[in-house]
Amino acid sequence: MKFETLLRKPAEWMRSTGPSHEIVSTSRVRLARNITGHPFPGWGKHQERLAVMGIIRPIVEQLPEMRDSFSEEMTSLNAIQKQVLVERHLVSREHAAKGPGCATVMNRQQTVSIMINEEDHLRMQALRPGLQLRAAFEQLSGIDSVLEQKLDFAFDENYGYLTSCPTNLGTGMRASAMLHLPGLVLSEQIGQTIQGANRIGLAVRGLYGEGTEALANLFQISNQATLGRSEEAIIDHLETVIQDIMESERNARFRLVEEKPAMIMDQVGRAFAILRYAHTLPSKEALNLLSLTRLGCDLGVFAPEDAEIVNLLLTEIQPAHLQVEAKRRLSAEERDSLRAEIIRRNLKNLPEPDFNGIVPPRDSEHE
Protein backbone atom coordinates (compact mmCIF):
# COMPACT_ATOMS: atom_id res chain seq x y z
CA MET A 1 0.00 0.00 0.00
CA LYS A 2 1.27 3.44 -0.91
CA PHE A 3 1.46 6.30 1.52
CA GLU A 4 -0.99 8.34 -0.58
CA THR A 5 -3.61 5.59 -0.27
CA LEU A 6 -3.13 5.56 3.47
CA LEU A 7 -3.55 9.32 3.61
CA ARG A 8 -6.72 9.40 1.59
CA LYS A 9 -8.37 6.82 3.77
CA PRO A 10 -9.17 7.76 7.34
CA ALA A 11 -8.23 5.01 9.79
CA GLU A 12 -11.11 2.80 10.81
CA TRP A 13 -10.95 3.92 14.42
CA MET A 14 -10.89 7.66 13.58
CA ARG A 15 -14.67 7.61 13.18
CA SER A 16 -15.05 6.42 16.78
CA THR A 17 -18.20 4.43 16.49
CA GLY A 18 -17.41 1.49 18.77
CA PRO A 19 -18.98 0.45 22.06
CA SER A 20 -19.42 3.32 24.59
CA HIS A 21 -18.14 5.73 21.94
CA GLU A 22 -19.94 8.68 23.52
CA ILE A 23 -17.17 8.65 26.12
CA VAL A 24 -14.43 6.26 24.99
CA SER A 25 -13.10 7.42 21.65
CA THR A 26 -10.43 4.75 21.16
CA SER A 27 -8.83 1.75 22.86
CA ARG A 28 -5.23 0.82 22.30
CA VAL A 29 -3.00 -2.03 23.43
CA ARG A 30 0.74 -2.04 22.91
CA LEU A 31 3.22 -4.89 23.38
CA ALA A 32 7.00 -4.44 23.56
CA ARG A 33 9.24 -7.30 22.43
CA ASN A 34 12.94 -7.77 21.78
CA ILE A 35 14.88 -10.54 20.12
CA THR A 36 17.84 -12.20 21.82
CA GLY A 37 21.44 -11.72 20.75
CA HIS A 38 21.11 -8.12 19.58
CA PRO A 39 21.50 -4.89 21.54
CA PHE A 40 18.33 -2.86 22.14
CA PRO A 41 17.77 -0.17 19.46
CA GLY A 42 18.86 2.72 21.68
CA TRP A 43 22.21 1.12 22.46
CA GLY A 44 23.03 -0.71 19.21
CA LYS A 45 25.02 0.94 16.46
CA HIS A 46 23.17 1.70 13.32
CA GLN A 47 24.50 -1.40 11.49
CA GLU A 48 23.05 -3.47 14.32
CA ARG A 49 19.69 -1.77 13.95
CA LEU A 50 19.79 -2.47 10.22
CA ALA A 51 20.55 -6.14 10.93
CA VAL A 52 17.62 -6.39 13.39
CA MET A 53 15.30 -4.69 10.91
CA GLY A 54 16.48 -7.15 8.25
CA ILE A 55 15.46 -10.05 10.49
CA ILE A 56 12.16 -8.72 11.79
CA ARG A 57 10.64 -6.78 8.93
CA PRO A 58 10.10 -9.64 6.42
CA ILE A 59 8.56 -11.81 9.15
CA VAL A 60 6.19 -9.02 10.18
CA GLU A 61 5.24 -8.35 6.56
CA GLN A 62 4.27 -12.01 6.18
CA LEU A 63 1.64 -11.82 8.92
CA PRO A 64 -1.85 -12.52 7.55
CA GLU A 65 -2.97 -9.15 9.03
CA MET A 66 -0.31 -7.42 6.97
CA ARG A 67 -1.50 -8.46 3.54
CA ASP A 68 -1.23 -5.35 1.37
CA SER A 69 0.30 -3.52 4.28
CA PHE A 70 2.02 -0.20 4.46
CA SER A 71 5.69 -0.84 5.21
CA GLU A 72 8.29 1.89 5.18
CA GLU A 73 11.64 2.73 6.64
CA MET A 74 11.37 5.94 8.62
CA THR A 75 14.18 7.53 6.62
CA SER A 76 12.22 7.14 3.40
CA LEU A 77 9.34 9.29 4.69
CA ASN A 78 9.44 13.08 4.70
CA ALA A 79 8.77 15.16 7.81
CA ILE A 80 5.12 15.79 6.99
CA GLN A 81 4.37 12.15 6.21
CA LYS A 82 5.93 11.09 9.50
CA GLN A 83 3.96 13.74 11.36
CA VAL A 84 0.74 12.45 9.78
CA LEU A 85 1.47 9.02 11.26
CA VAL A 86 2.05 10.62 14.67
CA GLU A 87 -1.19 12.58 14.42
CA ARG A 88 -3.00 9.33 13.68
CA HIS A 89 -1.34 7.67 16.68
CA LEU A 90 0.18 5.07 14.33
CA VAL A 91 3.78 5.79 15.33
CA SER A 92 5.22 7.52 18.39
CA ARG A 93 6.84 10.94 18.22
CA GLU A 94 10.12 9.26 19.18
CA HIS A 95 9.86 6.78 16.34
CA ALA A 96 9.11 9.52 13.81
CA ALA A 97 12.43 11.13 14.70
CA LYS A 98 14.45 7.93 14.17
CA GLY A 99 17.27 7.43 11.67
CA PRO A 100 18.40 4.41 9.60
CA GLY A 101 17.27 0.93 10.62
CA CYS A 102 13.84 1.95 11.89
CA ALA A 103 10.66 0.97 10.11
CA THR A 104 6.90 0.86 10.51
CA VAL A 105 4.58 -1.81 9.17
CA MET A 106 0.82 -1.34 9.42
CA ASN A 107 -2.29 -2.97 8.07
CA ARG A 108 -4.62 -1.45 5.52
CA GLN A 109 -7.30 -0.57 8.08
CA GLN A 110 -4.63 1.23 10.15
CA THR A 111 -5.73 -0.72 13.19
CA VAL A 112 -2.49 -2.65 13.72
CA SER A 113 0.83 -0.91 13.55
CA ILE A 114 4.23 -2.41 14.27
CA MET A 115 7.19 -0.18 14.90
CA ILE A 116 10.57 -1.83 14.35
CA ASN A 117 13.47 -0.46 16.39
CA GLU A 118 11.57 2.11 18.35
CA GLU A 119 12.72 1.89 21.97
CA ASP A 120 12.43 -1.90 21.68
CA HIS A 121 13.00 -4.10 18.63
CA LEU A 122 9.25 -4.47 18.29
CA ARG A 123 6.51 -2.18 19.47
CA MET A 124 3.22 -3.59 18.27
CA GLN A 125 -0.09 -1.88 18.77
CA ALA A 126 -3.73 -2.53 18.05
CA LEU A 127 -6.09 0.42 17.92
CA ARG A 128 -9.88 0.20 17.97
CA PRO A 129 -12.78 2.62 18.19
CA GLY A 130 -14.74 2.76 21.44
CA LEU A 131 -14.12 0.60 24.49
CA GLN A 132 -12.59 -2.57 23.06
CA LEU A 133 -9.48 -3.19 25.15
CA ARG A 134 -10.03 -6.91 25.40
CA ALA A 135 -10.61 -7.34 21.68
CA ALA A 136 -7.54 -5.23 20.91
CA PHE A 137 -5.45 -7.34 23.28
CA GLU A 138 -6.67 -10.62 21.83
CA GLN A 139 -5.84 -9.54 18.32
CA LEU A 140 -2.38 -8.36 19.30
CA SER A 141 -1.64 -11.39 21.43
CA GLY A 142 -2.58 -13.55 18.45
CA ILE A 143 -0.07 -11.67 16.31
CA ASP A 144 2.54 -12.04 19.06
CA SER A 145 1.93 -15.80 19.19
CA VAL A 146 2.56 -16.08 15.45
CA LEU A 147 5.71 -13.97 15.62
CA GLU A 148 7.19 -15.90 18.55
CA GLN A 149 7.31 -19.02 16.39
CA LYS A 150 9.77 -17.29 14.08
CA LEU A 151 11.52 -14.79 16.32
CA ASP A 152 13.44 -15.67 19.46
CA PHE A 153 11.95 -13.19 21.90
CA ALA A 154 14.06 -12.22 24.91
CA PHE A 155 12.23 -13.67 27.89
CA ASP A 156 13.26 -14.40 31.45
CA GLU A 157 11.35 -16.72 33.73
CA ASN A 158 11.37 -14.16 36.55
CA TYR A 159 11.28 -10.88 34.67
CA GLY A 160 9.10 -11.89 31.73
CA TYR A 161 9.61 -10.15 28.39
CA LEU A 162 12.85 -8.19 28.59
CA THR A 163 12.58 -4.59 27.47
CA SER A 164 15.02 -1.75 26.97
CA CYS A 165 13.47 0.20 29.83
CA PRO A 166 12.65 -1.68 33.06
CA THR A 167 9.38 0.27 33.28
CA ASN A 168 8.02 -1.97 30.49
CA LEU A 169 9.34 -5.26 31.85
CA GLY A 170 7.15 -8.33 32.33
CA THR A 171 4.16 -8.26 30.06
CA GLY A 172 5.63 -5.40 27.99
CA MET A 173 2.03 -4.30 27.73
CA ARG A 174 0.57 -0.83 27.87
CA ALA A 175 -3.20 -0.72 27.52
CA SER A 176 -4.86 2.65 27.16
CA ALA A 177 -8.15 4.30 26.31
CA MET A 178 -8.83 7.82 25.09
CA LEU A 179 -11.69 9.25 27.13
CA HIS A 180 -13.77 12.29 26.20
CA LEU A 181 -14.63 13.91 29.53
CA PRO A 182 -16.18 17.36 28.96
CA GLY A 183 -18.69 16.81 31.77
CA LEU A 184 -16.00 16.23 34.37
CA VAL A 185 -13.99 19.19 33.03
CA LEU A 186 -16.96 21.61 33.01
CA SER A 187 -18.03 20.53 36.49
CA GLU A 188 -14.43 20.82 37.71
CA GLN A 189 -14.21 17.23 38.90
CA ILE A 190 -11.49 16.23 36.48
CA GLY A 191 -8.60 16.91 38.90
CA GLN A 192 -10.10 14.55 41.43
CA THR A 193 -10.70 11.90 38.78
CA ILE A 194 -7.08 12.05 37.59
CA GLN A 195 -5.73 11.90 41.14
CA GLY A 196 -7.96 8.94 41.90
CA ALA A 197 -6.67 7.07 38.86
CA ASN A 198 -3.06 7.91 39.74
CA ARG A 199 -3.52 6.59 43.26
CA ILE A 200 -4.46 3.15 41.95
CA GLY A 201 -1.49 2.96 39.59
CA LEU A 202 -2.94 4.33 36.37
CA ALA A 203 -1.43 7.14 34.33
CA VAL A 204 -3.54 9.91 32.82
CA ARG A 205 -2.13 11.93 29.94
CA GLY A 206 -3.19 14.33 27.21
CA LEU A 207 -4.12 13.69 23.58
CA TYR A 208 -0.64 12.95 22.31
CA GLY A 209 0.78 10.96 25.19
CA GLU A 210 3.42 11.72 27.72
CA GLY A 211 3.91 15.38 28.58
CA THR A 212 1.14 16.62 26.33
CA GLU A 213 -1.67 18.94 27.22
CA ALA A 214 -5.23 17.70 27.63
CA LEU A 215 -6.82 19.15 24.50
CA ALA A 216 -10.38 18.66 23.37
CA ASN A 217 -11.21 17.33 26.85
CA LEU A 218 -9.55 14.08 25.79
CA PHE A 219 -7.63 12.09 28.38
CA GLN A 220 -5.59 8.98 27.83
CA ILE A 221 -5.68 6.55 30.73
CA SER A 222 -3.26 3.63 30.90
CA ASN A 223 -1.67 1.06 33.19
CA GLN A 224 1.58 2.16 34.81
CA ALA A 225 2.96 -1.19 36.00
CA THR A 226 3.66 -3.96 33.51
CA LEU A 227 5.28 -6.55 35.79
CA GLY A 228 3.62 -8.86 38.28
CA ARG A 229 0.09 -9.05 36.93
CA SER A 230 -1.15 -10.90 33.89
CA GLU A 231 -2.25 -9.07 30.76
CA GLU A 232 -5.83 -10.12 31.43
CA ALA A 233 -5.73 -8.82 35.01
CA ILE A 234 -4.20 -5.50 33.92
CA ILE A 235 -6.85 -4.99 31.24
CA ASP A 236 -9.66 -6.11 33.53
CA HIS A 237 -8.57 -3.60 36.17
CA LEU A 238 -8.17 -0.76 33.67
CA GLU A 239 -11.56 -1.50 32.17
CA THR A 240 -13.24 -1.52 35.57
CA VAL A 241 -11.77 1.91 36.32
CA ILE A 242 -12.83 3.20 32.90
CA GLN A 243 -16.39 2.01 33.59
CA ASP A 244 -16.32 3.97 36.85
CA ILE A 245 -15.06 7.09 35.10
CA MET A 246 -17.73 6.70 32.43
CA GLU A 247 -20.31 6.53 35.17
CA SER A 248 -19.00 9.76 36.75
CA GLU A 249 -18.89 11.46 33.35
CA ARG A 250 -22.51 10.49 32.65
CA ASN A 251 -23.55 11.75 36.06
CA ALA A 252 -21.64 14.98 35.55
CA ARG A 253 -23.32 15.57 32.18
CA PHE A 254 -26.72 14.76 33.62
CA ARG A 255 -26.21 17.16 36.51
CA LEU A 256 -24.97 19.95 34.24
CA VAL A 257 -28.07 19.63 32.09
CA GLU A 258 -30.28 19.58 35.17
CA GLU A 259 -28.61 22.38 37.07
CA LYS A 260 -27.02 24.61 34.47
CA PRO A 261 -28.94 24.13 31.23
CA ALA A 262 -28.30 27.73 30.10
CA MET A 263 -24.55 27.35 30.57
CA ILE A 264 -24.43 24.09 28.60
CA MET A 265 -26.60 25.44 25.77
CA ASP A 266 -24.47 28.55 25.62
CA GLN A 267 -21.19 26.64 25.49
CA VAL A 268 -22.39 24.21 22.81
CA GLY A 269 -24.15 26.91 20.80
CA ARG A 270 -21.19 29.30 20.84
CA ALA A 271 -18.75 26.51 19.97
CA PHE A 272 -20.83 25.54 16.96
CA ALA A 273 -21.34 29.15 15.86
CA ILE A 274 -17.61 29.85 15.93
CA LEU A 275 -16.69 26.64 14.12
CA ARG A 276 -19.43 27.26 11.55
CA TYR A 277 -18.33 30.82 10.68
CA ALA A 278 -14.76 31.45 11.83
CA HIS A 279 -12.09 32.17 9.21
CA THR A 280 -9.05 31.58 11.33
CA LEU A 281 -8.81 28.89 14.00
CA PRO A 282 -5.72 27.97 16.00
CA SER A 283 -5.42 24.26 16.69
CA LYS A 284 -6.06 24.42 20.42
CA GLU A 285 -9.20 26.54 20.07
CA ALA A 286 -10.55 24.35 17.27
CA LEU A 287 -10.01 21.15 19.28
CA ASN A 288 -11.77 22.51 22.33
CA LEU A 289 -14.71 23.82 20.29
CA LEU A 290 -15.00 20.48 18.49
CA SER A 291 -15.10 18.78 21.86
CA LEU A 292 -18.10 20.92 22.89
CA THR A 293 -19.80 20.22 19.55
CA ARG A 294 -19.19 16.53 20.16
CA LEU A 295 -20.83 16.93 23.57
CA GLY A 296 -23.73 18.55 21.72
CA CYS A 297 -24.09 15.37 19.61
CA ASP A 298 -24.22 13.25 22.77
CA LEU A 299 -26.84 15.57 24.36
CA GLY A 300 -29.09 15.48 21.30
CA VAL A 301 -28.40 19.06 20.16
CA PHE A 302 -27.07 17.50 16.97
CA ALA A 303 -27.84 14.10 15.55
CA PRO A 304 -25.76 11.29 17.09
CA GLU A 305 -24.45 10.35 13.64
CA ASP A 306 -22.95 13.82 13.27
CA ALA A 307 -20.46 12.80 15.95
CA GLU A 308 -18.59 10.92 13.24
CA ILE A 309 -17.86 14.12 11.28
CA VAL A 310 -16.66 15.81 14.44
CA ASN A 311 -14.42 12.86 15.32
CA LEU A 312 -12.81 12.80 11.90
CA LEU A 313 -12.19 16.54 12.11
CA LEU A 314 -10.26 16.09 15.38
CA THR A 315 -7.53 14.33 13.38
CA GLU A 316 -7.91 16.08 10.06
CA ILE A 317 -7.28 19.58 11.39
CA GLN A 318 -3.90 18.60 12.85
CA PRO A 319 -0.96 20.51 11.28
CA ALA A 320 0.51 17.73 9.12
CA HIS A 321 -2.90 16.61 7.87
CA LEU A 322 -3.57 20.20 6.78
CA GLN A 323 -0.28 20.39 4.89
CA VAL A 324 -1.02 17.14 3.12
CA GLU A 325 -4.41 18.54 2.12
CA ALA A 326 -2.73 21.73 0.85
CA LYS A 327 0.06 19.69 -0.78
CA ARG A 328 2.66 22.15 0.52
CA ARG A 329 4.25 23.50 3.69
CA LEU A 330 2.05 26.05 5.42
CA SER A 331 2.88 28.85 7.82
CA ALA A 332 1.02 28.94 11.13
CA GLU A 333 -1.39 31.59 9.82
CA GLU A 334 -2.05 29.64 6.65
CA ARG A 335 -2.78 26.56 8.73
CA ASP A 336 -5.25 28.43 10.95
CA SER A 337 -7.10 29.68 7.93
CA LEU A 338 -7.17 26.30 6.13
CA ARG A 339 -8.28 24.66 9.39
CA ALA A 340 -11.21 27.07 9.64
CA GLU A 341 -12.08 26.46 5.98
CA ILE A 342 -12.13 22.67 6.37
CA ILE A 343 -14.26 22.89 9.48
CA ARG A 344 -16.73 25.30 7.83
CA ARG A 345 -17.01 23.01 4.81
CA ASN A 346 -17.61 19.91 6.94
CA LEU A 347 -20.13 21.46 9.30
CA LYS A 348 -22.05 23.29 6.56
CA ASN A 349 -24.62 20.55 6.19
CA LEU A 350 -25.30 20.03 9.86
CA PRO A 351 -28.86 21.07 10.70
CA GLU A 352 -29.56 23.96 13.10
CA PRO A 353 -28.77 23.00 16.68
CA ASP A 354 -31.85 21.73 18.48
CA PHE A 355 -31.82 22.60 22.18
CA ASN A 356 -35.25 21.20 23.03
CA GLY A 357 -33.73 18.20 24.78
CA ILE A 358 -31.88 20.47 27.22
CA VAL A 359 -34.42 23.28 27.85
CA PRO A 360 -36.83 22.29 30.57
CA PRO A 361 -40.37 22.21 29.09
CA ARG A 362 -42.11 25.61 29.53
CA ASP A 363 -45.26 24.42 31.34
CA SER A 364 -43.25 22.51 33.92
CA GLU A 365 -41.43 25.78 34.62
CA HIS A 366 -44.73 27.50 35.52
CA GLU A 367 -46.06 24.75 37.72
Binding site: W43, E148, F155, S164, C165, L169, L227, G228
Partner: protein
Protein backbone atom coordinates in the same frame (compact mmCIF):
# COMPACT_ATOMS: atom_id res chain seq x y z
CA UNK B 1 37.44 14.06 40.58
CA UNK B 2 38.24 13.88 44.31
CA UNK B 3 37.83 10.80 46.47
CA UNK B 4 34.50 10.76 48.34
CA UNK B 5 36.02 9.41 51.54
CA UNK B 6 39.17 11.48 52.15
CA UNK B 7 38.09 14.36 49.92
CA UNK B 8 41.75 14.92 49.04
CA UNK B 9 43.33 12.52 46.64
CA UNK B 10 42.19 12.01 43.07
CA UNK B 11 39.66 9.16 42.78
CA UNK B 12 40.72 6.21 40.64
CA UNK B 13 37.95 3.75 41.47
CA UNK B 14 34.39 4.52 40.47
CA UNK B 15 31.48 2.52 41.81
CA UNK B 16 27.84 2.59 40.87
CA UNK B 17 25.08 0.55 42.36
CA UNK B 18 21.34 0.42 42.47
CA UNK B 19 20.09 -0.04 46.00
CA UNK B 20 16.56 0.40 47.27
CA UNK B 21 15.50 1.64 43.89
CA UNK B 22 18.07 4.43 43.81
CA UNK B 23 21.39 4.84 42.10
CA UNK B 24 24.40 5.29 44.34
CA UNK B 25 27.77 6.44 43.11
CA UNK B 26 31.00 6.47 45.00
CA UNK B 27 34.44 7.54 43.85
CA UNK B 28 37.48 6.40 45.80
CA UNK B 29 41.20 6.99 45.70
CA UNK B 30 43.53 3.99 45.70
CA UNK B 31 44.47 4.14 49.35
CA UNK B 32 40.91 4.58 50.62
CA UNK B 33 39.81 1.70 48.42
CA UNK B 34 42.55 -0.49 49.95
CA UNK B 35 41.57 0.59 53.40
CA UNK B 36 37.88 -0.23 52.79
CA UNK B 37 38.82 -3.59 51.39
CA UNK B 38 37.43 -2.83 47.99
CA UNK B 39 38.48 -5.99 46.23
CA UNK B 40 35.56 -8.22 45.45
CA UNK B 41 33.98 -7.31 42.14
CA UNK B 42 30.65 -8.92 42.94
CA UNK B 43 28.09 -8.29 45.63
CA UNK B 44 29.28 -4.90 46.74
CA UNK B 45 27.22 -2.70 49.02
CA UNK B 46 27.98 0.98 48.71
CA UNK B 47 25.71 2.19 51.45
CA UNK B 48 27.27 -0.20 53.91
CA UNK B 49 30.71 0.75 52.75
CA UNK B 50 30.19 4.41 53.37
CA UNK B 51 28.24 3.87 56.57
CA UNK B 52 30.22 1.25 58.36
CA UNK B 53 33.28 0.57 56.33
CA UNK B 54 34.82 -1.96 58.66
CA UNK B 55 31.73 -4.13 58.70
CA UNK B 56 31.44 -4.23 54.97
CA UNK B 57 33.57 -6.82 53.30
CA UNK B 58 32.98 -5.23 50.01
CA UNK B 59 33.72 -4.12 46.60
CA UNK B 60 34.98 -3.78 43.27
CA UNK B 61 37.19 -2.98 40.39
CA UNK B 62 40.32 -1.09 40.28
CA UNK B 63 41.86 0.63 37.42
CA UNK B 64 43.23 4.00 36.64
CA UNK B 65 40.39 4.81 34.28
CA UNK B 66 36.72 4.92 35.20
CA UNK B 67 35.84 1.32 34.46
CA UNK B 68 33.11 -0.65 36.13
CA UNK B 69 31.09 -3.73 35.52
CA UNK B 70 30.07 -4.02 31.88
CA UNK B 71 27.82 -6.40 29.98
CA UNK B 72 29.92 -8.98 28.12
CA UNK B 73 27.41 -9.08 25.26
CA UNK B 74 26.91 -5.39 24.57
CA UNK B 75 29.48 -3.44 26.58
CA UNK B 76 26.85 -1.53 28.51
CA UNK B 77 27.93 -0.25 31.94
CA UNK B 78 26.04 0.67 35.07
CA UNK B 79 26.75 4.36 34.56
CA UNK B 80 25.16 4.07 31.10
CA UNK B 81 22.08 2.85 32.92
CA UNK B 82 22.26 5.80 35.25
CA UNK B 83 22.42 8.17 32.30
CA UNK B 84 19.67 6.62 30.19
CA UNK B 85 17.46 4.63 32.56
CA UNK B 86 17.55 1.89 29.94
CA UNK B 87 19.57 -1.29 29.45
CA UNK B 88 21.80 -2.21 26.50
CA UNK B 89 20.59 -5.73 25.69
CA UNK B 90 18.64 -8.60 27.20
CA UNK B 91 21.79 -10.04 28.83
CA UNK B 92 22.17 -6.81 30.85
CA UNK B 93 19.29 -7.98 33.06
CA UNK B 94 21.52 -10.80 34.34
CA UNK B 95 24.69 -8.72 34.55
CA UNK B 96 23.07 -5.89 36.48
CA UNK B 97 20.63 -7.97 38.51
CA UNK B 98 22.02 -6.73 41.85
CA UNK B 99 19.59 -4.22 43.25
CA UNK B 100 17.28 -4.64 40.30
CA UNK B 101 14.49 -6.14 42.39
CA UNK B 102 14.37 -3.03 44.58
CA UNK B 103 14.10 -0.87 41.51
CA UNK B 104 11.34 -3.08 40.06
CA UNK B 105 9.50 -3.12 43.35
CA UNK B 106 9.47 0.69 43.29
CA UNK B 107 8.29 0.78 39.68
CA UNK B 108 5.81 -2.08 39.52
CA UNK B 109 5.13 -3.07 43.16
CA UNK B 110 6.12 -6.55 41.98
CA UNK B 111 9.33 -8.29 41.03
CA UNK B 112 8.17 -11.44 39.30
CA UNK B 113 6.41 -11.81 35.96
CA UNK B 114 2.93 -13.23 35.77
CA UNK B 115 1.22 -13.48 32.45
CA UNK B 116 1.96 -14.64 28.95
CA UNK B 117 4.93 -16.94 28.38
CA UNK B 118 6.23 -17.78 24.90
CA UNK B 119 4.85 -21.20 23.98
CA UNK B 120 8.34 -22.64 23.50
CA UNK B 121 9.19 -21.84 27.13
CA UNK B 122 5.86 -22.69 28.68
CA UNK B 123 6.16 -25.18 31.50
CA UNK B 124 3.35 -26.93 33.29
CA UNK B 125 4.17 -24.85 36.35
CA UNK B 126 3.63 -21.45 34.77
CA UNK B 127 0.77 -22.81 32.69
CA UNK B 128 -0.92 -23.78 35.96
CA UNK B 129 -0.18 -20.33 37.40
CA UNK B 130 -1.73 -18.69 34.35
CA UNK B 131 -4.79 -20.89 34.63
CA UNK B 132 -5.19 -20.17 38.34
CA UNK B 133 -4.98 -16.48 37.72
CA UNK B 134 -7.53 -16.52 34.91
CA UNK B 135 -9.76 -18.69 37.06
CA UNK B 136 -9.52 -16.05 39.83
CA UNK B 137 -10.58 -13.38 37.34
CA UNK B 138 -13.46 -15.56 36.18
CA UNK B 139 -14.71 -16.16 39.71
CA UNK B 140 -14.49 -12.44 40.52
CA UNK B 141 -16.61 -11.62 37.45
CA UNK B 142 -19.18 -14.25 38.35
CA UNK B 143 -19.24 -12.83 41.89
CA UNK B 144 -19.92 -9.33 40.58
CA UNK B 145 -22.43 -10.69 38.05
CA UNK B 146 -20.39 -9.39 35.14
CA UNK B 147 -21.27 -12.26 32.83
CA UNK B 148 -20.00 -10.65 29.66
CA UNK B 149 -16.52 -10.38 31.13
CA UNK B 150 -16.81 -13.81 32.72
CA UNK B 151 -17.45 -15.27 29.27
CA UNK B 152 -14.31 -13.52 28.06
CA UNK B 153 -12.25 -15.09 30.87
CA UNK B 154 -13.68 -18.46 29.94
CA UNK B 155 -12.54 -17.92 26.35
CA UNK B 156 -9.05 -16.98 27.51
CA UNK B 157 -8.83 -20.12 29.62
CA UNK B 158 -9.95 -22.26 26.68
CA UNK B 159 -7.46 -20.56 24.38
CA UNK B 160 -4.58 -20.98 26.80
CA UNK B 161 -5.27 -24.70 27.10
CA UNK B 162 -5.49 -24.97 23.33
CA UNK B 163 -2.44 -22.83 22.49
CA UNK B 164 0.05 -24.45 24.77
CA UNK B 165 1.59 -27.30 22.86
CA UNK B 166 1.86 -30.54 24.75
CA UNK B 167 5.40 -31.54 23.78
CA UNK B 168 7.40 -28.54 25.11
CA UNK B 169 5.28 -28.45 28.23
CA UNK B 170 6.00 -32.11 28.93
CA UNK B 171 9.70 -31.48 28.33
CA UNK B 172 9.77 -28.53 30.66
CA UNK B 173 7.95 -30.53 33.27
CA UNK B 174 10.59 -33.24 33.31
CA UNK B 175 13.36 -30.63 33.61
CA UNK B 176 11.55 -28.84 36.34
CA UNK B 177 10.76 -32.02 38.14
CA UNK B 178 14.47 -32.76 38.19
CA UNK B 179 15.25 -29.31 39.55
CA UNK B 180 12.71 -29.45 42.29
CA UNK B 181 13.58 -32.92 43.53
Amino acid sequence: MKCDVCQQKEASIFLTQIAEGKMHKVNLCDSCAQEKGVTNPTGFGLTEMLGDAAAAGTVVKRTTSPTERTCPDCGFSQSDFKKTGRFGCSTCYQVFSDGLDALLEAMHKHTRHRGKVPARLASTKNMQERLNELEEGLQACIGSQNFEKAAWYRDQIARLKEDTPVAPAAQAMSQEGAEEL
